[in-house]
Symmetry: D2
Subunit: 342 residues, 4 copies
């Protein structure tokens, strides 16, 4: 059994890792840490896990010292030191946070307000979007797990951008996320009565996932890509739907061919048949990304709908997928959780 | 007291009219009809109205024969004959449905699959979006109450389109509506467990509100406008948020000036201060349309957020606003309902 | 116009008072206060009120000095000093909080952990449940507005307890409340993702509304009453349903007669016809209490269902009803808000 | 691999069986049937299952002819003929419906309005509540899977009733269920806007689960038990919380001992520590039943809180647990699904 550790196990992404790793047939949750709850049992914080995960929360150092794979699910800025220690010990490090996603220290400084403390390590970090960068992940020692919005947006755009079937300017990404995306921290915005039965966009034009999306799309298109990205908060727990608008001059058939080529062998991306629309309800609690495309001929606009569970494919599930690849085991292990119909 | 009648009073728009007209100080709900429930009391269908509206449902003809103002909230195709009868009797007719919204019989045929049975009347019908067409409404005898999506989209776009501050091509309208928009009729889509905790777009590129939006924007811009319009269904009861994307070359300040000019004297449109984002929760249960604008300078895209209650400003409230204007009484009468905070 | 003031206007009960008082035709919201937001505009805290209530939040003293009626919606323990000041100035004081509800200083100490600082004033305070204590309220200078759970439970039990038609021991009150009942303060329990899609009881056997319910039932029954009261938290915004179980030996007809006698002249209590069950959806956003009764003959148990909007009849609406009575004006003024169907 | 079949696979209980059986390591979903959708693929009805269950829906007879275990999830009255056929073929039959739950043909007639067509078979049927009747299930050929409400209520009451620690009269069961309990069939009650943000009891004193609860409690107590049972509909998808009230004369410690004795070796019942309250959120999507007890000493009332996922422990999960027992394999196989925290 692979000894897995989670640093920051009591945030939502960390807790979801606990849940999913429990399903993994070759992994054992060996050590988990939390600054806020060190010394307590995980199942005292999350009583759903009573009799399932009775682990006690330890220190981050203990996790690093005793595990073969370390996941960190921490506020930005805190993963870098963890990464340094893991790297020195030769422990595979997978960061659910944002610290290793951006190539440029300047961009990181601009969007997150902090410095890169170990620039050498950043060069070694691999961006863990398996369907696009699988080859790089195989040899990785530090993996930057993509953000939830970038996962949904980039998987939606990849085939047509890679094949050059769309205009590279004027890409619009209108994304809607469930409240788990905002985390476990109490805020007025995520107070029940303030969020229930309402809906609105937030951080318009300044969400931190914007540079991450642009960086990845730029690599795919091999030219600089700027996007307009607007996140919204949905009054539900889980899931992201991105509705993406691009200009195209090709036919619906050719567009479909690009998606089929890209994803027909991918277990976790389901490119939907003509006439079917991707829906959050069909990917909930699973590692699937469902994608549908729709051509509005009267404006020659391609509308791409991409749906994921933000906590699974958008966080913990994809992290496990990355671990599987990096360790050379079956990529799908522990991830055959079935979507909830209802 | 003005004798008001409602034909189709047991659908959601009809029932909302009953609710709002009860607040109106100069109107009496004189007669209401329903094909499905004729003979029953309204409050047996909607028990919330016990001791509030004890009216019994009668026939459509009885409504027309006894009222001074007739509202129809019917499936498309059924309002035209009502309109003919009202017109002959000199009764003000306000159609919450779609039968009188489109100028072109061909477009109506194309989108709704039916013929115009009284083309002369269609020429007399006025499109009842008060903030833009108030002058026409004053003398109207037949008023086509706008669709819910068109109300939110057109109010959002009007100032900058009217002032020529945006590019007229490439307009994208990404709208999200609560489930009352889908009506009282039972469908699998609006079955509780099928809608709760999920989210998706529907009718992409083929929603019937598309030609209505384009027709109105074309009048405002004085040139043909085509839009990409994508509706989504939110797992909440009420409200629409439209997130609208347009290209602009002007400054944020000039854009704000256009909105202030258009709406500073409008009671029911609240153009929000810089830094504030329109939110459905702030207009719920009211006749307000809240609008905020956001300039994404790195792509020169203007993002307009427009929020309404689809049942009030998007249906029954606006219908009453139209009635008030057409009858020459205070436009805001009966409409000072206050948004629910929670 | 009566000059009304609200101390603690930015909590949920206070904000609901702002909303409802705006509808009142003889009242003006003259001054409102908040410790947390003094100096800010109310509509900056609750943007739904933009252009509706532009009042700036002042100090509690300013409210007391300038108003004819003062409502306090404060955490327990803080209302007593306000009451003293109001009493000295001859200002009608209505306390939405718990400080004046219990007759016994010992009980208050036991359940709330504080002392009565002005015992004389507590003797003058009247318990403001109009349907039962209307006469006392007419001459009141200090009114203790009942708790939300007690309002629903006591109105449900009053007729049969008053008429001696049930056994006075073994009364069970199983109540379910929406999240506004827990207030605006951030807690893990009311964090969106922690409450959404879940449900549970809380404070079993030790909720502070228990002594208040028992005190009032004891007065009605004229003998000591102990109840088993279990509150639950519903993942919705508004409303309380209490399902009440009592033993009876009388007939369904006689039971109905007692309710009809008690409530047939009450505007705000709707005793429902046989076969209809009280439902939260029919009282939402209104001052109504809907009550239905059901006799389970095979166990001779009477099941009483009582539904209110916890923020209206359970808080702000009832407070206004009390104000109207105390001031000798029409009891229903400002309270003809209609339930939301959807 | 055991060949499993599901008759009525497109209702909610059937679809949940498809989901859970997919996890089972020793079972293969061999054949599934549906009257409404025969010939279509299951994943066309439930698109969440695309690439997971591509089975085509066949006839009930084909299921019976080709499988070793047959589950039926049908409206009442339809399972009896299926049972006859299975019995003749020697196929293990597990009925999720109500046809084999009641011992008495008269009671069945009274509550369900139908006759027993194969009384001999009814005598062979075993009531499949494993924690109480495990021994009987081991040799069963026909298993009546308990109703969802009875599962939560009986597991909550069993220890204290079995040990004689409570009064056997005056038991009150106040249950609250999510909307999946009402099934996939469209009704006005489960129309999204009619259920969302509301709450009420239904079928008071006449729900069909009443005789089933009483029959089982009578067996446990070895004397006739009558209960007052009130179900309520929660505006959420999954789960049941039963709040149960009984009179007791013993101590809290002795009560706890009874529960510990009954359940300490049960994997799927978690008796919670003192001070913790059972909560629906902790059992969602799992086969656990969480139980907490609370003694209200001032009325000597024991309050038992029992929480299950109505679709898992209350239906499909328990059916699989029964299958495992009847087939003599590990009782927990396929059921180690972990509760969703959020």
């Amino acid at each position: 059994m692979i000894k897995a550790g989670i640093i920051g196990a009591t945030g939502y992404a960390g807790a979801e890792l606990v849940r999913l790793l429990t399903y993994h047939p070759q992994t054992e949750i060996h050590a988990i840490s939390s600054v806020s709850f060190e010394g307590e049992k995980f199942c005292e914080i999350y009583p759903a896990f009573r009799k399932i995960c009775e682990n006690r929360l330890v220190s981050a150092d203990e996790v690093i010292d005793t595990c073969e794979v370390v996941f960190a699910a921490l506020p930005h800025g805190l993963s870098q030191q963890i990464a340094v220690k893991c790297y020195e010990k030769g422990v595979l490090f997978i960061d659910i946070g944002a610290d290793f996603r951006l190539d440029s220290a300047d961009e990181y400084k601009k969007w997150y307000g902090k410095e890169y403390i170990a620039p050498e390590l950043h060069k070694k970090a691999v961006y863990g979007l398996p369907e696009i960068f699988r080859k790089d992940i195989k040899n990785a020692t530090i993996i930057a797990n993509p953000g939830c919005y970038p996962t949904s947006a980039v998987l939606g755009l990849y085939p047509v951008l890679h094949e050059g079937l769309i205009e590279t300017s004027g890409i619009i990404i209108d994304s809607k996320s469930g409240a788990t995306g905002a985390g476990r921290k109490l805020t007025q915005t995520t107070h029940f009565t303030d969020l229930n039965e309402t809906f609105s966009p937030y951080n318009i034009g300044k969400h931190r996932h914007t540079p991450e999306i642009e960086q990845t799309l730029t690599k795919i298109a091999k030219e600089p890509i700027a996007v307009t990205f607007t996140p919204h908060l949905l009054p539900i727990n889980r899931g992201i739907v991105s509705t993406i608008y691009v200009k195209t001059k090709t036919t619906y058939t050719e567009l479909r061919t690009a998606y089929e080529k890209a994803y027909s062998n991918e277990k976790f991306v389901r490119f939907l048949p003509e006439g079917i629309t991707a829906c959050l309800g069909n990917v909930r609690n699973s590692n699937y990304c469902d994608i549908s495309i729709h051509l509005d001929e009267h404006t020659q606009t391609l509308i791409i709908v991409s749906a994921i569970d933000n906590m699974v494919k958008g966080a913990a599930g994809q992290a496990i997928q990355n671990m599987n690849i990096a360790l050379g085991i079956d990529e799908t292990l522990g991830l055959d959780i079935i979507p909830l119909n209802f």
